[in-house]
Symmetry: C2
Subunit: 114 residues, 2 copies
DNA sequence: GTCTTATATGCGTATATGCTCATATAGGCA
DNA sequence: TGCCTATATGAGCATATACGCATATAAGAC
């Protein structure tokens, strides 16, 4: 029976979809800016709005997306909601991408990794 | 003059856009399958069509996308075109994502990393 | 209870992206 | 030349996603 091959293939497809979705979450400049703004610790939504210059609606939406992907943790305190990066593997991802981009761009953008 | 701050901010925005675009290239299951199919060396478009089960048109389009992002190298030989992974940092990216997903999914998908 | 502040959400719109069909290009062979 | 094969591309459609406006929810102060 070629069932092993088949089911492996199917599983692999599901895996691909999951990985793709994860990359998709990181494929938005605003979400990257939000993550970047949280590098030094948790921030409230209001702080993130000021730091990123986005609208409250948009920042809130993107924070939801990041939280649902388990990249952020949510903590409510009174009127405010604080978000923290809960998956540190993001940093490595961004470092890798920045390094790769620096190489392929021939150092056109030297400040990429900052 | 707050120009330093300003221009740093602008540069950072461009950087974010570049990084986001890179992640976006990796945010499609078919493109991930194509990359996966090329792990063991270069492949022709025809081979990739068979390996991934996609249509010729679609496979060709995704290969273009990957090549334009400098993730693939293109080599023409007679009627055939061969593509190779030209940026090995992709492997680390996928490993990191797979590892992170395995953790957050509580090992629901054990074969993710295969 | 009212009022204010902080955050989230429903809805409509604009843009982007993936997919397919048909066709174009490019190279090899007779 | 004409024909066949391998790959790329233009056009159209369907879906997804980001954004803003207005409004809802939640919590504190009064």
């Amino acid at each position: 029976m070629p069932r092993n091959k088949k089911s492996l293939h199917v599983l692999s497809d599901e895996a691909m979809a999951l990985v793709a979705r994860r990359f998709g979450v990181l494929a938005e400049p605003m979400r990257l800016r939000l993550l970047h703004s949280m590098c030094d610790g948790e921030k409230s939504v209001g702080e993130l709005v000021k730091l990123t210059g986005g609208t409250q609606t948009n920042v809130s939406r993107h924070l939801q997306t990041l939280a649902h992907a388990h990249l952020l943790a949510r903590r409510k305190e009174g009127l405010q909601v604080f978000y923290t990066i809960s998956d540190p593997s993001i940093f490595r991802l961004c470092e890798l991408v920045c390094g790769s981009l620096e190489k392929s761009l021939g150092r056109q953008v030297q400040t990429l990794a900052r």
